[in-house]
Protein backbone atom coordinates (compact mmCIF):
# COMPACT_ATOMS: atom_id res chain seq x y z
CA UNK A 1 0.00 0.00 0.00
CA UNK A 2 1.50 3.35 -0.89
CA UNK A 3 1.81 6.06 1.72
CA UNK A 4 -0.92 8.29 0.32
CA UNK A 5 -3.45 5.51 0.50
CA UNK A 6 -2.27 4.61 4.01
CA UNK A 7 -2.78 8.18 5.10
CA UNK A 8 -6.23 8.18 3.58
CA UNK A 9 -7.21 4.95 5.32
CA UNK A 10 -5.88 6.20 8.64
CA UNK A 11 -7.85 9.42 8.33
CA UNK A 12 -10.99 7.53 7.35
CA UNK A 13 -10.70 5.09 10.26
CA UNK A 14 -10.69 7.99 12.72
CA UNK A 15 -14.29 8.74 11.78
CA UNK A 16 -16.21 6.01 13.60
CA UNK A 17 -19.57 6.97 12.17
CA UNK A 18 -18.19 6.69 8.64
CA UNK A 19 -16.70 3.28 9.40
CA UNK A 20 -20.06 2.06 10.71
CA UNK A 21 -21.70 3.47 7.59
CA UNK A 22 -19.10 1.67 5.47
CA UNK A 23 -20.01 -1.65 7.09
CA UNK A 24 -23.74 -1.09 6.53
CA UNK A 25 -23.04 -0.05 2.95
CA UNK A 26 -21.02 -3.23 2.38
CA UNK A 27 -23.91 -5.24 3.79
CA UNK A 28 -26.30 -3.49 1.40
CA UNK A 29 -24.03 -4.24 -1.53
CA UNK A 30 -23.94 -7.88 -0.45
CA UNK A 31 -27.74 -7.97 -0.32
CA UNK A 32 -27.92 -6.25 -3.67
CA UNK A 33 -25.62 -8.83 -5.24
CA UNK A 34 -26.98 -11.97 -3.61
CA UNK A 35 -30.43 -10.87 -2.44
CA UNK A 36 -32.13 -12.82 -5.18
CA UNK A 37 -30.66 -16.05 -3.81
CA UNK A 38 -31.57 -15.21 -0.23
CA UNK A 39 -35.23 -14.49 -0.78
CA UNK A 40 -37.62 -17.08 0.48
CA UNK A 41 -40.26 -16.23 -2.17
CA UNK A 42 -40.57 -14.67 -5.58
CA UNK A 43 -40.98 -10.91 -4.92
CA UNK A 44 -43.68 -10.69 -7.59
CA UNK A 45 -45.72 -13.71 -6.44
CA UNK A 46 -49.11 -12.60 -5.21
CA UNK A 47 -51.14 -14.67 -2.79
CA UNK A 48 -54.62 -13.31 -2.29
CA UNK A 49 -55.26 -15.84 0.49
CA UNK A 50 -52.51 -14.29 2.59
CA UNK A 51 -52.98 -10.54 2.22
CA UNK A 52 -51.68 -8.13 4.87
CA UNK A 53 -50.50 -10.93 7.15
CA UNK A 54 -48.38 -9.66 10.06
CA UNK A 55 -44.85 -11.00 10.49
CA UNK A 56 -42.62 -12.29 13.31
CA UNK A 57 -44.29 -10.15 15.99
CA UNK A 58 -47.39 -12.28 15.38
CA UNK A 59 -45.32 -15.48 15.37
CA UNK A 60 -45.43 -15.71 11.58
CA UNK A 61 -42.05 -17.11 10.64
CA UNK A 62 -43.04 -17.87 7.06
CA UNK A 63 -43.24 -14.19 6.23
CA UNK A 64 -40.99 -12.64 8.89
CA UNK A 65 -41.84 -9.07 7.82
CA UNK A 66 -45.42 -9.84 6.84
CA UNK A 67 -47.12 -9.55 3.47
CA UNK A 68 -48.47 -6.57 1.54
CA UNK A 69 -51.90 -5.80 0.10
CA UNK A 70 -51.49 -8.39 -2.65
CA UNK A 71 -50.07 -11.04 -0.36
CA UNK A 72 -46.49 -10.60 -1.57
CA UNK A 73 -43.74 -11.39 0.93
CA UNK A 74 -42.29 -8.07 2.14
CA UNK A 75 -38.89 -9.46 3.12
CA UNK A 76 -38.39 -10.96 -0.35
CA UNK A 77 -39.37 -7.67 -1.94
CA UNK A 78 -37.02 -5.71 0.31
CA UNK A 79 -34.08 -7.97 -0.53
CA UNK A 80 -34.79 -7.62 -4.23
CA UNK A 81 -35.28 -3.89 -3.85
CA UNK A 82 -31.71 -3.44 -2.59
CA UNK A 83 -30.47 -4.55 -5.99
CA UNK A 84 -32.72 -2.10 -7.81
CA UNK A 85 -31.80 0.87 -5.63
CA UNK A 86 -28.08 0.24 -5.81
CA UNK A 87 -28.17 -0.46 -9.53
CA UNK A 88 -29.93 2.84 -10.10
CA UNK A 89 -27.48 4.61 -7.80
CA UNK A 90 -24.37 3.30 -9.51
CA UNK A 91 -25.72 3.77 -13.02
CA UNK A 92 -26.68 7.35 -12.25
CA UNK A 93 -23.18 7.99 -10.94
CA UNK A 94 -21.62 6.42 -14.02
CA UNK A 95 -23.71 8.46 -16.46
CA UNK A 96 -23.16 11.63 -14.44
CA UNK A 97 -19.42 11.05 -14.30
CA UNK A 98 -19.06 10.30 -18.02
CA UNK A 99 -21.19 13.16 -19.29
CA UNK A 100 -20.30 15.64 -16.53
CA UNK A 101 -16.54 15.20 -16.83
CA UNK A 102 -16.45 15.28 -20.61
CA UNK A 103 -18.66 18.35 -20.97
CA UNK A 104 -16.84 20.07 -18.11
CA UNK A 105 -13.43 19.47 -19.68
CA UNK A 106 -14.67 20.44 -23.12
CA UNK A 107 -16.21 23.62 -21.78
CA UNK A 108 -13.24 24.69 -19.68
CA UNK A 109 -10.51 23.69 -22.10
CA UNK A 110 -12.02 24.90 -25.35
CA UNK A 111 -13.54 28.09 -23.95
CA UNK A 112 -15.21 30.51 -26.37
CA UNK A 113 -18.57 29.70 -27.89
CA UNK A 114 -18.56 26.05 -26.76
CA UNK A 115 -17.99 27.14 -23.17
CA UNK A 116 -20.69 29.77 -23.42
CA UNK A 117 -23.27 27.34 -24.79
CA UNK A 118 -22.52 24.59 -22.31
CA UNK A 119 -22.53 26.92 -19.33
CA UNK A 120 -25.80 28.58 -20.36
CA UNK A 121 -27.32 25.12 -20.68
CA UNK A 122 -26.04 24.29 -17.21
CA UNK A 123 -27.66 27.47 -15.84
CA UNK A 124 -30.95 26.59 -17.46
CA UNK A 125 -31.05 23.06 -16.09
CA UNK A 126 -30.13 24.33 -12.64
CA UNK A 127 -33.11 26.70 -12.83
CA UNK A 128 -35.40 23.69 -12.30
CA UNK A 129 -35.93 22.30 -8.81
CA UNK A 130 -34.30 18.82 -9.11
CA UNK A 131 -37.28 16.62 -8.32
CA UNK A 132 -39.46 18.64 -10.65
CA UNK A 133 -36.97 18.26 -13.49
CA UNK A 134 -36.84 14.49 -12.99
CA UNK A 135 -40.64 14.34 -12.98
CA UNK A 136 -40.87 16.35 -16.18
CA UNK A 137 -38.32 14.21 -17.99
CA UNK A 138 -39.99 11.00 -16.90
CA UNK A 139 -43.39 12.43 -17.82
CA UNK A 140 -42.12 12.99 -21.33
CA UNK A 141 -40.10 9.80 -21.75
CA UNK A 142 -42.58 7.43 -20.14
CA UNK A 143 -42.25 4.69 -17.54
CA UNK A 144 -39.19 2.49 -17.21
CA UNK A 145 -36.34 2.20 -14.74
CA UNK A 146 -33.76 3.11 -17.41
CA UNK A 147 -35.61 6.34 -18.13
CA UNK A 148 -35.82 7.11 -14.44
CA UNK A 149 -32.06 6.64 -14.17
CA UNK A 150 -31.46 8.97 -17.08
CA UNK A 151 -33.80 11.57 -15.58
CA UNK A 152 -31.98 11.47 -12.24
CA UNK A 153 -28.56 11.65 -13.90
CA UNK A 154 -29.61 14.79 -15.76
CA UNK A 155 -30.21 16.46 -12.39
CA UNK A 156 -26.57 16.00 -11.39
CA UNK A 157 -24.70 16.48 -14.66
CA UNK A 158 -24.77 20.31 -14.65
CA UNK A 159 -23.35 20.54 -11.14
CA UNK A 160 -20.47 18.23 -11.97
CA UNK A 161 -19.79 19.92 -15.32
CA UNK A 162 -19.49 23.24 -13.53
CA UNK A 163 -17.10 21.88 -10.90
CA UNK A 164 -14.93 20.14 -13.51
CA UNK A 165 -14.86 23.26 -15.68
CA UNK A 166 -13.65 25.27 -12.68
CA UNK A 167 -10.69 23.00 -12.05
CA UNK A 168 -9.88 22.78 -15.77
CA UNK A 169 -9.64 26.57 -15.92
CA UNK A 170 -6.91 26.55 -13.26
CA UNK A 171 -5.07 23.58 -14.76
CA UNK A 172 -4.97 24.76 -18.33
CA UNK A 173 -2.80 27.79 -17.56
CA UNK A 174 -0.13 25.68 -15.85
CA UNK A 175 3.33 25.46 -17.45
CA UNK A 176 3.23 21.73 -18.20
CA UNK A 177 0.11 22.11 -20.31
CA UNK A 178 1.81 24.96 -22.10
CA UNK A 179 4.85 22.71 -22.60
CA UNK A 180 2.77 19.87 -23.97
CA UNK A 181 1.16 22.27 -26.42
CA UNK A 182 4.58 23.55 -27.52
CA UNK A 183 5.71 19.98 -28.13
CA UNK A 184 2.83 19.55 -30.53
CA UNK A 185 0.41 17.65 -28.30
CA UNK A 186 -3.12 17.51 -29.74
CA UNK A 187 -6.09 18.96 -27.85
CA UNK A 188 -7.43 15.48 -27.24
CA UNK A 189 -4.09 14.26 -25.89
CA UNK A 190 -3.74 17.23 -23.56
CA UNK A 191 -7.28 16.88 -22.24
CA UNK A 192 -6.85 13.16 -21.64
CA UNK A 193 -3.29 13.11 -20.34
CA UNK A 194 -2.89 16.39 -18.49
CA UNK A 195 -6.30 17.82 -17.69
CA UNK A 196 -8.32 14.73 -16.79
CA UNK A 197 -6.09 13.49 -13.94
CA UNK A 198 -6.40 16.87 -12.26
CA UNK A 199 -10.17 16.89 -12.15
CA UNK A 200 -10.49 13.42 -10.62
CA UNK A 201 -10.38 14.48 -6.96
CA UNK A 202 -13.17 17.09 -7.05
CA UNK A 203 -15.21 14.67 -9.16
CA UNK A 204 -14.85 11.83 -6.69
CA UNK A 205 -15.82 14.13 -3.84
CA UNK A 206 -18.95 15.21 -5.72
CA UNK A 207 -19.89 11.68 -6.73
CA UNK A 208 -19.51 10.09 -3.29
CA UNK A 209 -22.06 12.52 -1.90
CA UNK A 210 -24.42 11.73 -4.73
CA UNK A 211 -25.17 8.06 -4.23
CA UNK A 212 -27.45 8.54 -1.22
CA UNK A 213 -29.18 11.41 -2.94
CA UNK A 214 -29.77 9.38 -6.10
CA UNK A 215 -31.30 6.54 -4.08
CA UNK A 216 -33.61 9.05 -2.39
CA UNK A 217 -34.76 10.50 -5.72
CA UNK A 218 -35.37 7.04 -7.14
CA UNK A 219 -37.49 6.17 -4.14
CA UNK A 220 -39.38 9.45 -4.52
CA UNK A 221 -40.19 8.68 -8.16
CA UNK A 222 -41.24 5.16 -7.16
CA UNK A 223 -43.46 6.51 -4.39
CA UNK A 224 -45.10 9.02 -6.72
CA UNK A 225 -45.73 6.22 -9.19
CA UNK A 226 -43.97 8.15 -11.93
CA UNK A 227 -41.35 6.46 -14.07
CA UNK A 228 -41.11 3.22 -12.14
CA UNK A 229 -43.46 0.28 -12.68
CA UNK A 230 -45.50 0.10 -9.44
CA UNK A 231 -45.36 -3.71 -9.26
CA UNK A 232 -41.57 -3.61 -9.13
CA UNK A 233 -40.10 -4.31 -5.67
CA UNK A 234 -38.53 -0.86 -5.63
CA UNK A 235 -38.48 0.48 -2.06
CA UNK A 236 -40.19 3.76 -2.91
CA UNK A 237 -42.82 2.05 -5.03
CA UNK A 238 -43.55 -0.28 -2.10
CA UNK A 239 -44.59 2.79 -0.10
CA UNK A 240 -46.92 4.04 -2.76
CA UNK A 241 -50.49 3.61 -1.58
CA UNK A 242 -49.18 2.45 1.78
CA UNK A 243 -51.05 5.20 3.60
CA UNK A 244 -54.34 3.35 3.17
CA UNK A 245 -52.86 0.33 4.93
CA UNK A 246 -51.52 2.54 7.72
CA UNK A 247 -55.03 3.81 8.32
CA UNK A 248 -56.10 0.18 8.71
CA UNK A 249 -53.29 -0.29 11.21
CA UNK A 250 -51.22 -2.49 8.85
CA UNK A 251 -48.03 -0.57 9.59
CA UNK A 252 -45.53 -3.17 8.36
CA UNK A 253 -46.35 -2.52 4.71
CA UNK A 254 -44.80 0.97 4.96
CA UNK A 255 -42.48 0.87 7.98
CA UNK A 256 -39.94 -1.61 6.58
CA UNK A 257 -39.44 -0.32 3.03
CA UNK A 258 -39.20 3.28 4.27
CA UNK A 259 -36.69 2.28 6.90
CA UNK A 260 -34.55 0.57 4.25
CA UNK A 261 -34.49 3.75 2.15
CA UNK A 262 -33.58 5.74 5.23
CA UNK A 263 -30.82 3.31 6.23
CA UNK A 264 -29.33 3.17 2.73
CA UNK A 265 -29.40 6.94 2.23
CA UNK A 266 -28.01 7.62 5.70
CA UNK A 267 -25.16 5.15 5.35
CA UNK A 268 -24.15 6.39 1.91
CA UNK A 269 -24.32 10.01 3.09
CA UNK A 270 -22.15 9.29 6.13
CA UNK A 271 -19.77 7.28 3.98
CA UNK A 272 -19.55 10.13 1.48
CA UNK A 273 -18.88 12.64 4.26
CA UNK A 274 -16.19 10.39 5.69
CA UNK A 275 -14.50 9.87 2.33
CA UNK A 276 -14.56 13.58 1.62
CA UNK A 277 -13.07 14.47 4.98
CA UNK A 278 -10.35 11.85 4.66
CA UNK A 279 -9.56 13.07 1.17
CA UNK A 280 -9.47 16.68 2.32
CA UNK A 281 -7.05 15.74 5.07
CA UNK A 282 -4.86 14.07 2.47
CA UNK A 283 -5.00 17.14 0.26
CA UNK A 284 -3.99 19.44 3.07
CA UNK A 285 -0.70 17.62 3.63
Amino acid sequence: MNSELKMFVRQFKKNRLAVAAFIIALLLVFIALFGTYLTPYDPLDTNLEARLVPGFWADNMENPLGTDGLGRDILSRLLHGAGISLKVGYTVILITALVGISTGILSGYMGGVIDLIIMRLVDIILAFPPLLLALVIVAALGTGIERAMLAIAIIYIPGLARIVRGSVLTVKELPYVEASKAMGGSHFWIMLRHVLPNVITPTVVYLTLLLGDAILYTAALGFLGVGIDPSMPEWGAMLSGGKDYLLLGKWWVTVFPGFMIFLAVLSFNLLGDGLREAMDAKLRI
Binding site: R120, A127, F128, P129, L132, K243, G258, I261
Partner: protein
Amino acid sequence: MAFYRYLLKRLLIVIPTLLGASIIVFLLIHIIPGDPVTVMLGERASDAAREALIERLGLDQPLHIQFWTWLTNAAQGDFGRSIRSNTAVMDEIFARLPATIELTLAAVIIAVVFGIFFGVTAARYRNSIVDQMAIGFSLLGVSIPIFWLGMMMIFLFSVVMGWLPVSGRLSLGLGIESISGLYLVDSLLTGNMQAFWDALRHLIMPAAALSTVSLALFVRVTRSSMLDVLSEDYVRTARAKGLGMNKVIYKHALKNALIPIVTVVGLSVAQLLGGAVLTETVFSWPGIGRLLITSIGFRDYPMIQGIVLLVVLAFIMINLIVDLIYAYLDPRIRY
Protein backbone atom coordinates in the same frame (compact mmCIF):
# COMPACT_ATOMS: atom_id res chain seq x y z
CA MET B 1 -24.81 52.84 -6.99
CA ALA B 2 -22.87 49.59 -7.06
CA PHE B 3 -25.91 47.84 -5.67
CA TYR B 4 -28.10 49.02 -8.54
CA ARG B 5 -25.53 47.95 -11.09
CA TYR B 6 -25.47 44.54 -9.46
CA LEU B 7 -29.26 44.43 -9.48
CA LEU B 8 -29.34 45.22 -13.18
CA LYS B 9 -26.70 42.62 -13.95
CA ARG B 10 -28.57 39.94 -12.03
CA LEU B 11 -31.83 40.84 -13.78
CA LEU B 12 -30.17 40.57 -17.16
CA ILE B 13 -28.91 37.06 -16.39
CA VAL B 14 -32.43 35.97 -15.44
CA ILE B 15 -33.86 36.65 -18.91
CA PRO B 16 -31.86 34.10 -20.98
CA THR B 17 -32.24 31.51 -18.22
CA LEU B 18 -35.98 31.93 -18.16
CA LEU B 19 -36.16 31.81 -21.95
CA GLY B 20 -34.06 28.64 -22.00
CA ALA B 21 -36.21 27.03 -19.32
CA SER B 22 -39.35 27.85 -21.27
CA ILE B 23 -37.85 26.25 -24.40
CA ILE B 24 -37.29 23.06 -22.40
CA VAL B 25 -40.83 23.15 -21.03
CA PHE B 26 -42.20 23.81 -24.51
CA LEU B 27 -40.19 20.97 -26.05
CA LEU B 28 -41.56 18.58 -23.42
CA ILE B 29 -44.53 17.79 -25.63
CA HIS B 30 -42.22 17.18 -28.60
CA ILE B 31 -39.81 14.73 -27.00
CA ILE B 32 -42.58 12.29 -26.12
CA PRO B 33 -41.64 9.08 -27.92
CA GLY B 34 -44.31 8.38 -30.52
CA ASP B 35 -47.27 10.53 -31.39
CA PRO B 36 -48.18 13.01 -28.61
CA VAL B 37 -51.84 13.11 -29.66
CA THR B 38 -52.20 9.34 -29.28
CA VAL B 39 -50.41 9.52 -25.94
CA MET B 40 -52.79 12.20 -24.68
CA LEU B 41 -56.08 10.92 -26.09
CA GLY B 42 -55.44 7.19 -26.09
CA GLU B 43 -55.55 4.69 -28.96
CA ARG B 44 -59.30 4.73 -29.43
CA ALA B 45 -59.82 8.46 -29.91
CA SER B 46 -61.91 9.48 -32.90
CA ASP B 47 -60.31 11.23 -35.86
CA ALA B 48 -62.35 14.34 -35.17
CA ALA B 49 -61.09 14.51 -31.58
CA ARG B 50 -57.53 13.99 -32.76
CA GLU B 51 -57.78 16.77 -35.31
CA ALA B 52 -59.35 19.09 -32.78
CA LEU B 53 -56.47 18.53 -30.36
CA ILE B 54 -53.85 18.96 -33.10
CA GLU B 55 -55.41 22.25 -34.00
CA ARG B 56 -55.84 23.36 -30.40
CA LEU B 57 -52.19 22.69 -29.63
CA GLY B 58 -51.11 24.05 -33.00
CA LEU B 59 -49.17 20.85 -33.71
CA ASP B 60 -49.72 21.28 -37.46
CA GLN B 61 -47.68 24.50 -37.45
CA PRO B 62 -43.90 24.72 -37.93
CA LEU B 63 -42.00 24.34 -34.66
CA HIS B 64 -40.76 27.92 -34.34
CA ILE B 65 -44.24 29.32 -34.92
CA GLN B 66 -45.63 26.88 -32.37
CA PHE B 67 -43.05 28.07 -29.85
CA TRP B 68 -43.70 31.73 -30.52
CA THR B 69 -47.47 31.31 -30.16
CA TRP B 70 -47.03 29.25 -27.02
CA LEU B 71 -44.57 31.72 -25.48
CA THR B 72 -46.63 34.84 -26.20
CA ASN B 73 -49.72 33.15 -24.83
CA ALA B 74 -47.82 31.90 -21.78
CA ALA B 75 -46.49 35.40 -21.12
CA GLN B 76 -50.11 36.52 -20.90
CA GLY B 77 -50.92 33.69 -18.51
CA ASP B 78 -52.64 31.56 -21.13
CA PHE B 79 -51.43 27.95 -21.13
CA GLY B 80 -54.42 26.62 -23.00
CA ARG B 81 -56.98 24.20 -21.64
CA SER B 82 -56.46 21.14 -19.54
CA ILE B 83 -56.93 17.89 -21.46
CA ARG B 84 -58.30 16.16 -18.39
CA SER B 85 -60.85 18.71 -17.16
CA ASN B 86 -61.11 21.11 -20.13
CA THR B 87 -60.82 24.11 -17.79
CA ALA B 88 -58.27 26.85 -18.43
CA VAL B 89 -54.91 25.67 -17.10
CA MET B 90 -54.18 28.95 -15.33
CA ASP B 91 -57.54 28.99 -13.55
CA GLU B 92 -56.97 25.54 -12.14
CA ILE B 93 -53.40 26.37 -11.11
CA PHE B 94 -54.47 29.58 -9.38
CA ALA B 95 -57.24 27.75 -7.55
CA ARG B 96 -54.64 25.33 -6.14
CA LEU B 97 -51.74 27.74 -5.66
CA PRO B 98 -52.73 29.19 -2.25
CA ALA B 99 -52.69 25.70 -0.71
CA THR B 100 -49.11 25.17 -1.83
CA ILE B 101 -48.05 28.66 -0.77
CA GLU B 102 -49.57 28.17 2.68
CA LEU B 103 -47.87 24.80 3.11
CA THR B 104 -44.48 26.00 1.89
CA LEU B 105 -44.58 29.21 3.92
CA ALA B 106 -45.48 27.29 7.06
CA ALA B 107 -42.58 24.90 6.40
CA VAL B 108 -40.15 27.80 5.87
CA ILE B 109 -41.28 29.45 9.11
CA ILE B 110 -40.88 26.21 11.06
CA ALA B 111 -37.46 25.55 9.52
CA VAL B 112 -36.14 29.08 10.06
CA VAL B 113 -37.42 29.56 13.62
CA PHE B 114 -36.47 26.14 14.96
CA GLY B 115 -33.37 25.86 12.79
CA ILE B 116 -31.90 29.11 14.08
CA PHE B 117 -32.96 28.43 17.65
CA PHE B 118 -31.45 24.93 17.78
CA GLY B 119 -28.38 26.04 15.83
CA VAL B 120 -27.71 28.92 18.21
CA THR B 121 -28.35 26.76 21.28
CA ALA B 122 -26.03 24.04 19.97
CA ALA B 123 -23.26 26.59 19.34
CA ARG B 124 -23.77 28.21 22.72
CA TYR B 125 -23.50 24.92 24.60
CA ARG B 126 -20.87 23.42 22.36
CA ASN B 127 -20.10 19.69 22.89
CA SER B 128 -22.96 19.40 25.36
CA ILE B 129 -25.75 16.87 24.99
CA VAL B 130 -27.88 19.54 23.28
CA ASP B 131 -25.13 20.07 20.73
CA GLN B 132 -24.77 16.35 20.10
CA MET B 133 -28.50 16.03 19.62
CA ALA B 134 -28.55 18.94 17.18
CA ILE B 135 -25.74 17.38 15.15
CA GLY B 136 -27.44 13.99 15.21
CA PHE B 137 -30.71 15.51 14.11
CA SER B 138 -29.13 17.41 11.25
CA LEU B 139 -27.52 14.18 10.04
CA LEU B 140 -30.75 12.20 10.17
CA GLY B 141 -32.86 15.02 8.77
CA VAL B 142 -31.14 15.16 5.40
CA SER B 143 -31.31 11.40 4.91
CA ILE B 144 -34.89 10.66 5.87
CA PRO B 145 -37.34 10.30 2.97
CA ILE B 146 -39.94 12.94 3.82
CA PHE B 147 -42.76 10.97 2.25
CA TRP B 148 -42.03 8.12 4.63
CA LEU B 149 -41.64 10.50 7.56
CA GLY B 150 -45.05 11.95 6.69
CA MET B 151 -46.60 8.49 6.70
CA MET B 152 -45.01 7.64 10.04
CA MET B 153 -46.37 10.90 11.48
CA ILE B 154 -49.84 10.01 10.20
CA PHE B 155 -49.57 6.60 11.82
CA LEU B 156 -48.37 7.97 15.14
CA PHE B 157 -50.40 11.16 15.51
CA SER B 158 -53.56 10.24 13.61
CA VAL B 159 -53.99 6.49 13.76
CA VAL B 160 -52.46 5.64 17.15
CA MET B 161 -52.95 8.87 19.13
CA GLY B 162 -55.90 10.24 17.20
CA TRP B 163 -54.69 13.83 17.71
CA LEU B 164 -54.48 15.20 14.19
CA PRO B 165 -56.48 14.80 10.99
CA VAL B 166 -55.08 12.46 8.32
CA SER B 167 -55.41 14.58 5.21
CA GLY B 168 -56.82 17.65 3.49
CA ARG B 169 -56.85 21.32 4.51
CA LEU B 170 -60.12 21.65 6.39
CA SER B 171 -62.75 19.41 7.97
CA LEU B 172 -65.95 18.80 6.08
CA GLY B 173 -68.73 21.18 6.97
CA LEU B 174 -66.40 24.07 7.75
CA GLY B 175 -66.06 26.96 5.33
CA ILE B 176 -63.70 29.91 5.12
CA GLU B 177 -64.50 33.03 3.18
CA SER B 178 -61.69 33.32 0.63
CA ILE B 179 -59.67 36.53 0.72
CA SER B 180 -56.04 35.52 0.20
CA GLY B 181 -56.71 31.82 -0.21
CA LEU B 182 -54.45 31.10 2.77
CA TYR B 183 -56.82 29.47 5.24
CA LEU B 184 -54.99 30.56 8.38
CA VAL B 185 -54.89 34.19 7.26
CA ASP B 186 -58.45 34.27 5.96
CA SER B 187 -59.95 32.63 9.03
CA LEU B 188 -58.17 35.13 11.27
CA LEU B 189 -59.28 38.07 9.13
CA THR B 190 -62.87 36.96 9.29
CA GLY B 191 -62.59 36.09 12.97
CA ASN B 192 -63.58 32.48 12.33
CA MET B 193 -61.60 30.89 15.15
CA GLN B 194 -63.14 27.45 14.83
CA ALA B 195 -61.96 27.23 11.22
CA PHE B 196 -58.58 28.68 12.19
CA TRP B 197 -57.84 25.92 14.70
CA ASP B 198 -59.14 23.29 12.33
CA ALA B 199 -56.95 24.57 9.46
CA LEU B 200 -53.97 24.75 11.81
CA ARG B 201 -54.49 21.16 12.92
CA HIS B 202 -54.54 20.10 9.27
CA LEU B 203 -51.43 22.11 8.45
CA ILE B 204 -49.12 21.03 11.28
CA MET B 205 -48.09 17.57 10.08
CA PRO B 206 -47.54 18.30 6.38
CA ALA B 207 -45.65 21.50 7.18
CA ALA B 208 -43.48 19.75 9.77
CA ALA B 209 -42.71 16.90 7.37
CA LEU B 210 -41.87 19.31 4.56
CA SER B 211 -39.64 21.43 6.79
CA THR B 212 -37.41 18.53 7.94
CA VAL B 213 -34.65 18.69 5.34
CA SER B 214 -34.37 22.48 5.43
CA LEU B 215 -34.54 22.48 9.21
CA ALA B 216 -31.63 20.03 9.39
CA LEU B 217 -29.65 22.21 7.01
CA PHE B 218 -30.40 25.40 8.96
CA VAL B 219 -29.37 23.84 12.26
CA ARG B 220 -26.06 22.79 10.77
CA VAL B 221 -25.30 26.12 9.10
CA THR B 222 -26.46 28.28 12.02
CA ARG B 223 -24.37 26.25 14.43
CA SER B 224 -21.15 26.56 12.46
CA SER B 225 -21.75 30.19 11.56
CA MET B 226 -22.52 31.04 15.18
CA LEU B 227 -19.40 29.23 16.39
CA ASP B 228 -17.34 31.40 14.02
CA VAL B 229 -18.95 34.59 15.23
CA LEU B 230 -18.72 33.71 18.92
CA SER B 231 -14.94 33.54 18.68
CA GLU B 232 -14.75 37.13 17.37
CA ASP B 233 -13.20 39.91 19.46
CA TYR B 234 -16.31 42.06 19.65
CA VAL B 235 -18.20 39.21 21.26
CA ARG B 236 -15.51 38.88 23.89
CA THR B 237 -15.63 42.66 24.40
CA ALA B 238 -19.38 42.59 24.86
CA ARG B 239 -19.04 39.78 27.39
CA ALA B 240 -16.22 41.65 29.18
CA LYS B 241 -18.47 44.70 29.47
CA GLY B 242 -20.69 42.48 31.54
CA LEU B 243 -23.44 41.90 29.00
CA GLY B 244 -25.49 38.75 29.54
CA MET B 245 -24.98 35.82 27.17
CA ASN B 246 -28.52 36.05 25.77
CA LYS B 247 -28.06 39.70 24.92
CA VAL B 248 -24.67 39.08 23.36
CA ILE B 249 -26.01 36.28 21.21
CA TYR B 250 -29.31 37.73 20.10
CA LYS B 251 -28.24 41.39 19.90
CA HIS B 252 -24.69 41.23 18.62
CA ALA B 253 -23.71 37.83 17.30
CA LEU B 254 -26.84 36.60 15.55
CA LYS B 255 -27.03 39.51 13.13
CA ASN B 256 -23.63 38.60 11.73
CA ALA B 257 -24.19 34.89 11.90
CA LEU B 258 -27.31 35.28 9.76
CA ILE B 259 -25.50 36.10 6.51
CA PRO B 260 -24.60 32.53 5.49
CA ILE B 261 -28.05 31.41 6.61
CA VAL B 262 -29.68 33.65 4.01
CA THR B 263 -27.88 31.76 1.23
CA VAL B 264 -28.98 28.42 2.61
CA VAL B 265 -32.58 29.62 2.79
CA GLY B 266 -32.32 30.30 -0.96
CA LEU B 267 -30.86 26.87 -1.62
CA SER B 268 -33.54 25.14 0.36
CA VAL B 269 -36.30 26.69 -1.72
CA ALA B 270 -35.55 24.15 -4.46
CA GLN B 271 -35.85 21.37 -1.94
CA LEU B 272 -39.11 22.78 -0.56
CA LEU B 273 -40.71 23.15 -3.99
CA GLY B 274 -39.79 19.57 -4.87
CA GLY B 275 -40.70 18.34 -1.41
CA ALA B 276 -44.13 19.94 -1.71
CA VAL B 277 -44.94 17.43 -4.46
CA LEU B 278 -44.17 14.56 -2.09
CA THR B 279 -45.79 16.05 1.00
CA GLU B 280 -48.95 17.01 -0.85
CA THR B 281 -49.21 13.47 -2.18
CA VAL B 282 -48.82 11.91 1.27
CA PHE B 283 -51.29 14.23 2.99
CA SER B 284 -53.74 14.60 0.06
CA TRP B 285 -53.06 18.34 0.26
CA PRO B 286 -54.92 20.05 -2.60
CA GLY B 287 -51.98 22.08 -3.96
CA ILE B 288 -50.21 22.29 -7.30
CA GLY B 289 -47.78 19.50 -6.40
CA ARG B 290 -50.57 16.99 -6.33
CA LEU B 291 -52.12 18.58 -9.39
CA LEU B 292 -48.81 17.97 -11.18
CA ILE B 293 -48.74 14.29 -10.26
CA THR B 294 -52.38 13.84 -11.29
CA SER B 295 -51.65 15.61 -14.57
CA ILE B 296 -48.65 13.39 -15.24
CA GLY B 297 -50.88 10.38 -14.63
CA PHE B 298 -53.41 11.69 -17.15
CA ARG B 299 -50.70 12.86 -19.55
CA ASP B 300 -52.27 16.29 -19.40
CA TYR B 301 -49.33 18.09 -21.01
CA PRO B 302 -50.70 21.66 -21.17
CA MET B 303 -51.27 21.46 -17.41
CA ILE B 304 -47.80 19.98 -16.78
CA GLN B 305 -46.24 22.76 -18.84
CA GLY B 306 -48.14 25.46 -16.98
CA ILE B 307 -47.25 24.15 -13.53
CA VAL B 308 -43.59 23.56 -14.33
CA LEU B 309 -43.05 26.94 -15.94
CA LEU B 310 -44.72 28.68 -13.02
CA VAL B 311 -42.63 26.82 -10.45
CA VAL B 312 -39.41 27.52 -12.37
CA LEU B 313 -40.34 31.19 -12.56
CA ALA B 314 -41.00 31.25 -8.81
CA PHE B 315 -37.74 29.43 -8.14
CA ILE B 316 -35.68 31.85 -10.26
CA MET B 317 -37.35 34.87 -8.67
CA ILE B 318 -36.87 33.63 -5.12
CA ASN B 319 -33.21 32.96 -5.81
CA LEU B 320 -32.86 36.43 -7.27
CA ILE B 321 -34.42 37.97 -4.18
CA VAL B 322 -32.18 35.92 -1.90
CA ASP B 323 -29.10 37.04 -3.84
CA LEU B 324 -30.18 40.65 -3.56
CA ILE B 325 -30.82 40.36 0.18
CA TYR B 326 -27.41 38.79 0.50
CA ALA B 327 -25.75 41.59 -1.43
CA TYR B 328 -27.64 44.13 0.64
CA LEU B 329 -26.66 42.52 3.96
CA ASP B 330 -23.03 42.20 3.03
CA PRO B 331 -21.90 45.05 0.80
CA ARG B 332 -18.55 43.35 0.19
CA ILE B 333 -20.25 40.75 -1.95
CA ARG B 334 -20.55 41.53 -5.63
CA TYR B 335 -20.20 38.83 -8.21
